[in-house]
């Protein structure tokens, strides 16, 4: 009897969005148990994996929960939060955690053990697109990509992105930069002397923003060049070694699928 009445209770209130809260947690990676136990073969020790993914992602998502709780962003996933906050100067604190959480997840999704990564290859379609931007072989691309990653003076990311016209581009982002919006790519370093090329790029970004241009760039491949990604296993000066190893552990099956194909 009691049960019957209970079942007939309207389910309404629970569905009202005002009562919902989104707690950001560390996303589950495909091989997370194996990685936690053994690290990523050829890239991370178990301790290094813990720092770069388990701990750091926990740090980012926990902060994201704390900072979005009770705000308009509380129901949004990191990707939407980063888009929502990218243009707001007073919300860059939130943007940082959203952008980092999204980028780091994007980066770890494409990693696998060296032995299984070896069995995957970039698709012919991807290689053709790379050839279009004057990178005829995968080694030529590796060279350019890792150079971009190793040449910045601070923390950052390097992406291979697809532009709206389907051409590819290597995009370097300083600090918590995101590939999704040109105003927050943070590709320019204005700390030292600014040359004419940088100045032109800066003015171009300003002009785009003033005209309210939209950005349809999508990332295909990312490398985390923050210290947290390598300091545990490679030390403060081990960035180059780390980058070489990351390259060996890229699961190209995942990257191939990110490229839009008709």
């Amino acid at each position: 009897m009691f049960r019957g009445t209970f079942r007939q209770l309207p389910k309404g209130p629970a569905k009202v969005f005002g009562n919902c809260r989104l707690i950001h947690t560390v996303p589950k990676l495909r091989n997370v148990e194996q990685f936690t136990k053994n690290g990523i073969e050829g890239l991370y020790s178990p301790e290094g994996f813990k720092t770069a993914w388990l701990d750091y992602q926990k740090f980012l998502t926990l902060n994201l929960t704390l900072h979005t709780n009770g705000t308009e962003n509380e129901l949004r996933p990191p990707y939407q939060i980063l888009l929502q906050t990218a243009k707001k100067t007073t919300e860059q604190h939130v943007f940082h955690f959203a952008s980092q959480a999204h980028n780091n997840h994007f980066f770890f999704e494409q990693l696998s053990d060296k032995s299984s990564a070896k069995k995957t290859r970039p698709s012919r379609f991807l290689l053709e697109r790379l050839a279009d931007i004057n990178l005829p072989t995968i080694d030529a691309f590796r060279e350019q990509f890792l150079l971009a990653a190793d040449s910045s003076f601070g923390q950052g990311w390097v992406f291979l992105v697809e532009l709206p016209d389907k051409s590819l581009k290597i995009l370097k982002c300083n600090n918590d930069g995101t590939p999704y919006y040109y105003g927050k790519n943070q590709s320019l370093d204005l700390n030292g002397s600014v040359d004419e090329l940088t100045l032109d790029n800066l003015n171009k970004v300003k002009e785009l923003a003033q005209n309210g241009e939209k950005d349809f760039t999508l990332p295909l491949l990312a490398i985390n060049v923050w210290d947290v990604a390598f300091i545990q296993d490679y030390g403060t000066t081990g960035r180059a070694d780390y980058l070489a190893n990351v390259w060996e552990c890229i699961n190209w099956d995942i990257v191939n699928k990110r490229l839009f194909q008709v």
Partner: protein
Amino acid sequence: MYRTCGKNLPIASVTRLSSRGLSYTLPTIPLLENLRVGNQNLNGLFSNQTVNELWFKRGQHLIDHLNTLIEQNQIVGSHELNELISLSFHKPELYGVHAYASLLHNLQFFLESVKPVEGGDSAIEKASAESLLKSPEISETIPNEPSDTELRQWIIDSFGSMAEFRTLLLNSAKGIKGDGVTWLVARANHADLALRGSINKSKPDVIYSTLAVMNTYNAGIVDDSIRSGQITKLNKQKAANLALQNKEEGTTIKDQGDNLRLGSIEEAEAATLFSDRKLIPLLAIDSSSRNYLLDYGVFGKQQYLDNLWKCIDWDVVQARAPSRFRQSFDLN
């Protein structure tokens, strides 16, 4: 004016002229050398391994890259690191030299501002995720205050109280997400010069009236006078070039009543805010993640900064400070 011979003032970086031209060697920081020899921790702040990573490995890494770039760019003559930083600033082609030199300078400046703390409760251990949920401290009594009364009073006059200063300093450091350094600086500007009436002298004394906290990012430098307003300057230069070009080609641009236009906020700031400032760094706090990741873990930045406060060597800070200018009257 600038007290350069304080007892604790560090040894300047060693410059040597080799047959190949200018090259640098890793400066000697006696405290760190001793720790390395004795295989000891920097008590209260860093483990021995971290000291090794931060200074002996990374310092050498920066020196190596700097020397390589100097050789590639064929920079000759003998320069102190500071001179090299200033002379390479306005040359985009020397950006690498400038960046490595500044990074090295900032790192050395930071590591020379700290001293080990014996005993005490500052543990060097990894923090857990729960530490993010801790309430911030609101205690008004704080450890490791500067003992020198003059410096103490200057800080209190500039920031309100020691507790406010500590909060501002550590929160500024905490606000840096990527690489960066938080500085305590002594500030002088022409407004102060005018007060003293020294503006009419051919070479006015630079006088320092207030202390301030500022952040620099990546290889950024403290000196405002060389780094500010360059974007505005470049844009003006470019516009002037364009106008000249147009004149030569005979095309004229319609005068859009530019004389009546109000400038942008950026232009106003560039014209007034930074042009007459002079800053002397007294204390550097490096809050880049590499400093705390190894000892304190991903969640340990607050713990690292709290420990760092206790390890600040105020004698060094005091030795770096210029003599203070006090207003003999109050404008308010």
